[in-house]
């Protein structure tokens, strides 16, 4: 399972970078989203995969069956929410950029470069 996820994470990073290197800013935003997903999945995998174990256990029950680490799940949940907000902002931003600049081609946005 870890191997499959490792390949998926690598694929997501590669796809995200590929999208970011394109000229269209719409693809740029998709690329940023993919990078975020890859990071979340990386946390999920590297913190250890546990199948069908409860994250919260009571003191009285027998704990010999083990438990899932709740912290990575909490981290990912937080990161997903933040990522969602950032994506929403980025979409509004590119909408305004395309309206103001009149193109979605990053090569035409070099006026402020030095």
């Amino acid at each position: 399972m870890e191997t499959i996820l490792a390949v998926v994470i690598g694929g997501l990073y590669a796809a995200g970078l590929f999208m970011m290197l394109r000229r269209s800013i719409v693809k740029l935003i998709i690329g940023i989203g993919l990078l975020g997903h890859a990071a979340n999945l990386l946390i999920f995998t590297i913190a250890g995969l546990t199948r069908a174990r409860p994250p919260l256990i009571s003191e009285s029950l027998d704990n010999s069956t083990g438990f899932a680490d709740p912290l990575p799940q909490a981290l990912i949940l937080t990161a997903i929410v933040i990522g969602f907000a950032v994506q929403a902002f980025a979409l509004v931003l590119i909408h305004r950029v395309i309206q103001t600049v009149g193109t979605d081609d990053l090569d035409n946005m070099k006026a402020t470069d030095t």
């Binding site: 970011m20 800013i25 740029l28 940023i32 990078l35 975020g36 890859a38 990071a39 979340n40 990386l42 946390i43 590297i46 913190a47 250890g48 912290l71 990575p72 981290l75 937080t78 990161a79 933040i82 907000a85 950032v86 902002f89 980025a90 931003l93 590119i94 305004r96 950029v97 103001t100 600049v101 990053l106 946005m109 070099k110 006026a111 402020t112 470069d113 030095t114």
Partner: protein, 505 residues
């Protein structure tokens, strides 16, 4: 629990909420912005006083004990940074009263300023790596909107680059945090510091350290990751440029110093050597970029990068003296940089351009403004007895003690180039005769009534910053003592760990 620890978070949050409630009242928001930032500055100073008297302060935000709860911790370094953030906030809030246009004020400029300050203070005070990520995001969201607010074409183009690079950096930071958790099983910085010291050196840890270096390096705008900065920092209104130039990149440097003194000190010969090389290249490329510029604000933007190099030099040398120099230099560069940007804003209001070729004759007409430019400019170049001289002196001495002559030589050469580019601004904008174009002359002889009316609000923050530079230059001793104390705490994490976890290393 020490209430001073959370006041720097609660005050900007309250000010932001109240400003949002007073959405339609521009007047209320303006008053709130000054009161809120003034209180933040006072609370920062009180926190600094408290930490100086009683040692490192730490608190858990709920009933959970240290490695599990949400930790807020202030050592001297954090407290200094919070106080200076409050100072910057106040200066920018007052300056904004005079310069911010109604449009931006109506669309929530002041609440965003408070939220930005809350994110910055949160990043300084948190004792947990994941919370650091969250505070970075709070700060970034506010800065994204401030960067784009107003919707001018240049701002939009700048914002795209700023947002993209910062999001890449955040994704890397998140991945690094996840990997560190996978290896060590904790994210509390004090707990991590202790566990990392008990763990044998692993290659994976160095990999994680490099991920942090790149993630924070993008935010701090170090070589070769700085290209977003000169492409975006000169696009928003001057007040926003000031807060970005003064504080945001320094938060990246703060995070680097924190992580590479507290956590990743297993393989110093490798990691800190890389930091030292980066420091030299950052100084050099930054100042060379600045020398080539002919635009007031772009030139200053390149200087931000160059000065970041000095801060990293202190971290790369990793001795108490070097870190003390870096902390001192941090305070100096935040004030000097902000005040130069403020002067550039006033010049723009007087002449309507940032182009150095079209400027001129300002010394004759506004000698007081010229002096206010000269103080931070010479300080940045390191002319005694101004603050920059003592910062550079401390760093260069520290470099000589550990016999890192290459970085010392670089720092000295960069100083001269800094002086050269500051003199270039002085000659072009202030000293030479004003060019004979009817447009420039007209706007110079007839300043609009708005400029005259808000003159005191414009000059007050610049004068205050200039006085601060003179003060920390002429009376360098108290600040240097503070910086040495901060450096000692950074070099000996035992006290930090004890304050958070309640047990000795």
């Amino acid at each position: 629990m020490n209430v001073l620890l959370i006041l720097p978070l609660l005050l900007p949050m309250t000010a932001a909420i109240l400003s949002l409630l007073a959405w339609n009242s521009r007047r209320t928001q303006r008053i709130l912005s000054v009161i809120g930032t003034a209180l933040l500055f006072v609370s920062g100073l009180m926190l600094l006083e408290s930490v100086w008297q009683n040692g490192i302060q730490a608190a858990q935000m709920d009933a959970w004990p240290a490695p599990f709860g949400i930790t807020v911790v202030a050592d001297l370094f954090s407290a200094i940074m919070v106080a200076i953030a409050g100072f910057m906030g106040l200066a920018v809030a007052v300056y904004s009263l005079a310069t911010m246009d109604r449009q931006r004020e109506a669309f929530g400029y002041y609440p965003l300023l408070h939220i930005l300050l809350m994110g910055v203070c949160g990043a300084f005070l948190t004792g947990d790596l994941f919370n650091l990520y969250v505070w970075f995001e709070v700060m970034l969201m506010a800065s994204f909107v401030l960067m784009a607010l107003g919707g001018e074409r240049a701002q939009m183009e700048g914002a795209i680059k700023y947002v993209t690079l910062n999001l890449i950096s955040s994704a890397m930071f998140l991945a690094a945090v996840g990997m560190l958790y996978g290896v060590m099983g904790t994210l509390n910085m004090a707990d991590l510091a202790q566990k990392l010291r008990d763990t044998p050196q692993m290659d994976l840890l160095t990999t994680i350290a490099m991920l942090f270096l790149v993630a924070f390096g993008i935010k701090a705008a170090v070589f070769p990751l700085f290209f977003w900065l000169p492409a975006s920092y000169h696009t928003p209104p001057v007040a926003v440029s000031v807060i970005f130039a003064g504080l945001l990149t320094k938060v990246g440097v703060y995070a680097l110093i924190r992580v590479f003194t507290l956590l990743f000190v297993q393989d110093v010969a490798y990691t800190h050597m890389i930091i030292l090389v980066i420091a030299g290249l950052t100084m050099l490329t930054g100042v060379l970029g600045a020398v080539a510029q002919a635009d007031f604000r772009r030139l200053l933007a390149f200087h931000i990068i160059s000065q970041i190099g000095y801060l990293l030099m202190g971290l790369g040398l990793l001795t108490t003296a070097a870190l003390a120099g870096a902390v001192y230099f941090m305070v100096h560069v935040i004030i000097a940089k902000a005040s130069l940007f403020l002067v550039s804003g006033v010049v723009y209001r007087l002449r309507g351009t940032y182009d150095l070729k079209k400027l001129g004759g300002l010394y004759g007409r506004h000698p007081f403004l010229a002096i206010l430019f000269l103080i931070p400019a010479l300080s940045l170049a390191g002319v005694p007895p101004l603050s920059g001289f003592f910062g550079k002196l401390a760093l260069i001495q520290a470099g000589l003690w550990v016999e890192q002559y290459a970085i010392v030589a670089t720092a000295l050469v960069v100083s001269i180039l800094t002086l050269f580019s500051m003199i270039k601004i002085w000659n072009e904008a202030f000293w030479k005769e004003a060019p004979e174009t009817p447009g420039a002359e007209g706007s110079a002889t007839q300043p609009s009534s708005e400029v005259m009316g808000s003159r005191y609000l414009l000059i007050l923050p610049i004068a205050a910053l200039a006085l601060a530079i003179l003060f920390i230059g002429l009376a360098a001793e108290p600040l240097y003592l503070l910086a040495s104390g901060a450096a000692e705490q950074l070099m000996n994490p035992a006290e930090y760990i004890h304050a958070v976890l309640g047990r000795r290393l």
